[in-house]
Amino acid sequence: MPAEVPPLSSGDTAWLLTSTALVLLMTLPGLALFYGGLVRIKNVLSLLVQCFAITGVVSLLWLAVGYSLAFSNGGPLNSVIGGLDKAFLLGMARDAQTGSIPESLFCMFQLTFAAITPALVVGAFAERVRFAAVLWFAGLWVLLVYVPIAHWVWGGGWLAQLGVMDFAGGIVVHVNAGVAALVGALTLGGRRGFPQTSMAPHSLPLTACGAGMLWVGWYGFNGGSALAANGSAGMAVLATHMGASAGALAWMWAEWRRFGKPSMLGIVTGMVAGLGTITPASGYVGPLGAVAIGLVAGFLCFHATQYLKQRLHIDDSLDVSPVHGAGGVIGTLLTGVFAAAALGGSGYSVQTSMAGQLGVQALGVAACAAWCGGMTWLIMRVLDTTLGLRVSDEQESEGLDLASHGERGYSG
């Protein structure tokens, strides 16, 4: 925060309040429905309850220490982690500001990012994970993985000092979620009967409903990351929209060519890929750069998904790593390219070349992947040996809705 605080802007505050609502909409009900529709009918509620519970757990932890560790000054340790002055927001005055908006709002806006990231991850654990394990995973992962990486990139940590460009979370959210999903899926193991038995989505309309909300909410995710209602926010929303459109069409085209038919699920998956990929770039590129990024995203994420399933036979059940992980990497790197003023971008900071920026971007991806991969592996191992990661085979075939929650999704 600058030494002298600018006056509070009601316009910027109005937009951030809205953006916070939009990002929450992405998780609840957006992502919950998107995921819930993709699983078999006997497991739909398990995904819904996980998204709600993760949001609850992460919210309380964010208030307790998460926000402070990510966004307050860590003194000597500041390059790696923040401090505890703002634990429980006790250090925060009711009228404190972050830039031109209330700090309470900034904390709340960032909370919604911390909540959706682990919720994205659990898509890889679908249809076999124990509910208690999900709760513990979400709590531990947010504190040990999300918070430090958010601090490195956005909280004034070492990557920020190196000038990494991650406007709204290509590294912090998508690379992070993708790597955790991949490591998690490997430690957890595949669903019984994968890949032979049919595990067709039980309700694609539910998935489409969630997909639409994700697109809408993403305006707040990326546009809100400008922390103001200004031209940067406007351009970010335009870029976000172009990334989504291009991603959806690219995936559609790839499917059409490969399988002879474009599918609804394919188009919305391409849209998500486009959105995830444009995220780090949204505030730095122009609309044409965004189209280019979206096209690459739709095309590469499509092939990454095929590869993981068909070749590697890894059961990342809802394709989190090939969509968000691959997309996050691609987007973070391409940000270094399309930020060039020559390509309609906002340009680099002084004395930085495209090559230099690309190096920093790659370093950011690598550092995030390394830390996230290692810590996620550790957390999963610990949980497996303590309370166990998977439900029993009987429970898995009965379905998590009845086995873990005592309910059925649909009756009569």
């Binding site: 890949p195 049919s198 595990m199 067709a200 989505p201 499917e255 399988f259 038919k261 599918s263 699920l265 394919g266 998956t269 998904t305 095929q306 399933k309 068909q310 394709d319």
Partner: protein, 112 residues
Amino acid sequence: MKLVTAIIKPFKLDDVRAALSEIGVSGMTVTEVKGFGRQRGHTELYRGAEYVVDFVPKTRIEVAVRTELVDQCVESIVKAAKTGKVGDGKIFITNIDRVIRIRTGETDNSAL
């Protein structure tokens, strides 16, 4: 009395019902079923995961009729349900010992 059980293509149900009521058979019980046979199913693709669905939706019609009526009944079902394409289905005729109408307690032919 006989029970005539026909497995037909779902979109033929209305035609079959019409044909049967023409010969005075208005009561029947219908079930949605899955059929396996010569007719092949279809393939679905979800993010590249390919699932071969080899059953075909069919409709199962049960009609209890007076024995004298069986041939007529079969005839009109065949006429109405036939498309000539694989998957038109089958008719099974089985014997019924007794029929009871729950409402009145009437039995056998008078219960139909």
